[in-house]
Assembly symmetry: C2
Homo-oligomer: 237 residues x 2
Amino acid sequence: MLLYLPIVTIIMDGLYANLRLQVNDSIYLKNPESSDLGQRIISGSIELISEMGFESFTFKKLAKSIGSTEASVYRYFESKHKLLLYLTAWYWAWVQYRILFATANVPSAEERLMRALDVALGVHEVDIQFPHIDEQKLYHLVVAESSKAYLNKQVDEINDQGVYTSYKDLVELIGKIILEIQPEYKYPHMLVTTVIEGANHQHFFAEHLPRLTDVVCGEKGITKYYQNMVLTLIKAS
Amino acid sequence: MLLYLPIVTIIMDGLYANLRLQVNDSIYLKNPESSDLGQRIISGSIELISEMGFESFTFKKLAKSIGSTEASVYRYFESKHKLLLYLTAWYWAWVQYRILFATANVPSAEERLMRALDVALGVHEVDIQFPHIDEQKLYHLVVAESSKAYLNKQVDEINDQGVYTSYKDLVELIGKIILEIQPEYKYPHMLVTTVIEGANHQHFFAEHLPRLTDVVCGEKGITKYYQNMVLTLIKAS
DNA sequence: CAAATATAATAGCATTACTATCGCTTTTGT
DNA sequence: ACAAAAGCGATAGTAATGCTATTATATTTG
């Protein structure tokens, strides 16, 4: 962290603090960032869930893999569903932070939109700021499991606690850039969620159900497809 | 059934048989259409899952609600996940059948595309042909639970057994109409899955997470949005 | 250095997701 | 018409899951 130039450090520290706050504290019983065990719970769960899937994942297996006990994990998260909520909320807060950083001081709204989508639509490098988090595996987890964070019967309760705020804020952020380019566009939220969820699905389909997608070139092919989609739609309106 | 004109009856009988065949027989141990208990399993599970969510749903609760036993239900489906696969496969086969019917003898490809999307993007009336199935509740179930049918670690195995064929065929069918209108369009499958999954999500968001969507007018508002999206994109290419 | 806090270790419990067995009834092939 | 087969309900049982409780031992903090 000390290697960065002052201005960068200041911006990053500010956002880093914000990023922590973004992960709503009603998700956890004890903040996993606050201890070594907590950080092992996060890194271990990313590893295990992305490897074996959320259904097969249990706190007992997690505890074993990080050399702790089931009861200790329960002191941080009251259920494995809450832990999934934490991981996805963290991911969207992280994406939002990177978008703010990638679009700062860029005057063209269209350029900012393309950069925001580039970050929001997947395929990430590692972020040295968070050594306990493997961003590649976390993205893989988000693709396969994140919809289970809201596709359940407790969604309204959880929503009332503000747990989905980091995702909503991200959608809002990108939606606002769209409105800068085309203030007449009526459906910015629908468009943003359609392309974010769409990109997730296409990544999954490309790996498992190729007949549901099309061959696109390069690892950013899906991103390019949806960037083009957004531009075409807002300009046609 | 006897009330229909001969030509209609012939077409429907043919498609009805096809529709049964579409639900891949490796999904079930015993065909639920073949007995009264089987049909009660289907109608009871649609009722229960859409009411309490897939996670809370158990074969024990289902058995109780239809006046049977857990062991008897297991004679039809080897797991609750297989039952979910059956319900979603049935749904997509039903959508495909209705698209074939709605687009038959319509010369304009654009008109056929709009009709196909109108059927594929949700909001359905009852279909008197299937008295044991409440199509409204089934659609509600598909919106909230269908992605769990493929978002799991067994997806490749299940896919090898051909279980997702009815969804793939539906995507293929609509994709082909797109190519009739615009043979140059490179990504018909991506576009079709994007709008189908997108419409599902928007229906869910409208009910539970309104900040992730936009106010659209009328019960077909979401459908109209995506119909317009598809037309705009294929014409812009 | 005492008090508070964090963690590990163990036990326990209700529920879930199945499997197995048995006997009664209905269907089916001949 | 009748035996064989299949379908179903009833009951029991099992390993795993999701979670709670208790106690003892470290570790941190005031």
